[in-house]
């Protein structure tokens, strides 16, 4: 049985840089391929409303008549289902995770 088995590790880490970052000043390094905010290339969108119908959280609202594509960012779970079903492939998930918000608003494209 050893007394204070961790002493080596603790000593070693005394002389290393911290692994944490000072968050708001230094943004988090995001891995490529991370599922972040949903982005739409609105010029290519044909307003077929498939993404609206398939969205598991009803975050999307696509208006066929007025050609409006709207998203509730707070409802979107970045699952990527709409990206898969989009016939025009004009939806994509960016690596960007967005900034905090204080209001519940629909974003319109």
């Amino acid at each position: 049985m050893a007394f204070f088995q961790m002493k080596k590790m603790i000593l070693a880490w005394t002389f290393r840089k911290p692994v944490t970052t000072s968050y708001p000043f230094e943004p988090r390094k995001i891995c490529p391929g991370s599922r972040g905010r949903l982005d739409v290339k609105i010029s290519e969108c044909i307003f077929c409303t498939i993404c609206d119908k398939r969205c598991p959280t009803q975050a999307l609202d696509v208006d066929k008549v007025n050609k409006k594509w709207r998203i509730d960012r707070l409802r979107c779970i970045s699952c990527g289902y709409c990206v898969e079903v989009c016939p025009k492939k004009c939806l994509l998930l960016t690596g960007d995770h967005g900034i905090p918000t204080v209001t519940k608003e629909m974003e319109t494209f």
């Binding site: 009803q58 975050a59 609202d61 709207r70 509730d72 409802r75 519940k104 629909m106």
Partner: protein, 130 residues
Amino acid sequence: MIDEQTIIDVMPETLVAETRKLCEQGYRLVQICATRLGEELQMDYSFDLNRKFVNFRFLLPKLGGRVPSITGVFFCAFTYENEISDLFGVQVEGNALDFKGNFYTTAMKHPFIQDAVPASVPAPAKPGVQ
């Protein structure tokens, strides 16, 4: 098929005796679950021994169903039996640790045998659509 699943029909009256037989062979209780099939409840008692899966099944009426408790054989059944009595309103007779309907905090009584969401609970509106 990933594994063989044996489903055996039993009667509620013989449930405890059948369970005791399995217990003596070294089976463990996997789960107890109720399923609503229209006006009936299907009860499933699952057991496992070295990944051999055995399931007891019987039907109960939707309202006022009564089952004997198997906590005398498997004490750990008390969680499942309280669950089915809270969510499905099945009366379990002789539960060793009976919470008397207070195992789950639910907004309504026996939510899992209700037909639909009552009118007092508004359906979530589509965002931004007024």
